[in-house]
């Protein structure tokens, strides 16, 4: 039982981790919590639904197109809203992102309706290992592999490319980045693009594991923030680690508390972290 829950937790955790990487970088660089991140995740999943189910494209192509389209939406949000509001109070930008979240979610409701949707209606038989000791669906194996590939790609991007290093530098110290000659506006656009891609991927994988609903991303917003705070704001590696911890804790918690309270687990971990070490495990000091 515990091993099964652990596995489920790793699957959920990888999905949270993918979403949290972008959220953390944006948070670190632009200094505001992006409350539309969960709904951006939902949007990515529905874009993939559009391409895969409604337009009957192959899954891999739908995945790529949806990721690119979500990145585009993230960039547009930056251009239309956040770029103008950033210079003011951070609360104003955050409220604007709450507004963006509601707008996105209701656009999804408008076009796709409130009913659950599936990428594939066929019911998958889980692979049973060790006499029913462990069950895993084929989809879940795909999710784990895709998440791993994406995380490795992010790692290579952040450590081997100039742009990736500039992103990390900006999350560290944006004033110094400017003095160093980094074209901060351009890097910000790329950061939104990368967040969009990863967030869409998280949404698609989540829907691939279960199904699509208009609130799927919103329901993950708290775990996403908990992962970011646990790992330290601005630290992409912290976000990956935080995502796994939150995912595993949420699933394992059902051993002791009712499954209805899973979201409370993320919240509790986050509050504990804020009490013990507000800067997170891998973050810099918070003023």
């Amino acid at each position: 039982m515990a091993v099964q829950l652990f596995l489920n937790g790793v699957i959920l955790g990888s999905i949270i981790a993918l979403g949290a990487i972008g959220l953390s970088l944006i948070y670190g660089i632009l200094k505001f919590g992006h409350f539309a991140h969960g709904d951006l995740m939902t949007l990515g999943a529905y874009f993939a639904f559009l391409f895969k189910v409604q337009l009957a494209l192959p899954f891999w192509l739908a995945f790529i197109l949806a990721a690119m389209l979500t990145a585009l939406v993230a960039i547009i949000l930056n251009f239309v809203l956040y770029r103008h509001l950033r210079k003011r109070d951070s609360v104003i930008v955050m409220i604007s992102s709450v507004g963006a979240a509601l707008i996105i979610r209701n656009i999804i409701l408008l076009f796709w309706g409130p009913q659950n949707k599936f990428y594939d209606k066929a019911i998958q038989m889980p692979i049973i290992l060790g006499d029913g000791f462990l069950r895993i669906k084929e989809n879940q194996i795909v999710i784990l592999i895709l998440a791993l590939i994406l995380v490795i790609a992010v790692h290579l991007f952040l450590t081997r490319t100039k742009l990736g290093k500039a992103m990390r530098a900006m999350a560290d110290n944006i004033d110094l980045a400017q003095i160093t000659g980094i074209n901060t506006e351009r890097v910000i656009i790329w950061t939104w693009a990368m967040s969009g891609v990863l967030t869409a991927a998280a949404g698609i994988l989540l829907a691939f594991d279960t199904h699509l609903t208009p609130v799927m991303g919103w329901n993950l917003l708290l775990p996403l923030f908990a992962a970011v705070i646990l790992g330290g704001i601005g630290s992409p590696y912290g976000a990956m680690f935080g995502g796994l911890v939150i995912g595993i804790s949420q699933e394992m918690s059902t051993l002791v508390i009712s499954a209805a309270y899973k979201p409370a687990v993320a919240f509790t971990i986050m509050i504990l972290m804020l009490i013990i070490k507000p800067s997170g495990l891998m973050g810099k000091k918070v003023s």
């Binding site: 290093k165 560290d172 110094l176 980045a177 003095i179 160093t180 000659g181």
Partner: protein, 232 residues
């Protein structure tokens, strides 16, 4: 090479620098000294457009810096080392240096070698995160980052602030050493006596205005300056 002409600068509506002119000639070390709050750092930052400039212009090798973007300034051989928070703490030493060359695409291997030879302690720390280094070593990384692009003029904002006494002389010696490789230096410094002793020329600021300017030696020997600003 650098000529500040009657500049007024500050933050938003608050004017801190009230009309200062200053010059740095090729190959010089020039120091700006003065009491706390005299506007030394603000003046230095105005060169790099890090504060708001209300009036005046800054000529650098024939171009007006007040109209230039940061990346262009760096391409033209200008570099700035801030006083605090001057390294990227979660990036490695090597990555910090690489980012110093962000605006360029040329092969920088030789430059890195030069920087490591200037600051030997950094060699074995190249894979370490800059945030884990001591204050003195961090200052070396900050200098290194600023030197990667082969600057002609290096702007230093209180390079010894917050350093342990043993590092102060070391860092100031490095400044002289860097100058000998052909880099002109303009620095703001708290340790006024030490700074003036190593400078070709110096400026004394008070309350946002220029009070004295002379050779470094001249200022050190000026009794008025000594009494008012150098603590007797």
């Amino acid at each position: 090479m650098l000529k500040i002409n009657d500049i007024y600068a500050g933050y938003g509506e608050i004017e801190i620098i009230h009309g200062i002119s200053l010059e740095v000639k090729e190959g010089e070390i020039v120091s700006i000294v003065g009491p706390n709050g005299s506007g030394k750092s603000t003046l230095l930052k105005s060169i790099f457009s890090l504060v708001d400039i209300m009036k005046g212009n800054i000529d650098y090798l024939g171009t007006d810096l007040t109209k230039l973007g940061t990346d262009k300034m760096i391409e033209q051989g200008l570099s700035f080392v801030p006083q605090t928070d001057n390294v990227f703490p979660t990036l490695t030493v090597a990555e910090n240096l690489e980012l110093g060359a962000y605006v360029s695409n040329k092969n920088l291997k030789d430059r890195f070698d030069l920087i490591y030879s200037l600051f030997p302690p950094l060699v074995e720390k190249r894979k370490k995160k800059a945030g884990t280094l001591s204050g003195g070593q961090r200052q070396m990384v900050a200098f290194g980052r600023a030197l990667v692009m082969e600057p002609k003029l290096l702007l230093l904002d209180e390079p010894t602030a917050g350093l342990a006494p043993m590092f102060i002389d070391l860092i100031l010696d490095k400044v002289v050493e860097i100058n000998k490789t052909g880099v002109s230096i303009l620095m703001v410094e708290q340790n006024a006596k030490k700074a003036l002793a190593m400078s070709d020329r110096g400026y004394v600021l008070a309350a946002g205005e220029k009070k004295y300017e002379d050779s470094g030696k001249g200022l050190l020997e000026n009794e008025e300056v000594a009494q008012l600003f150098l603590g007797g």
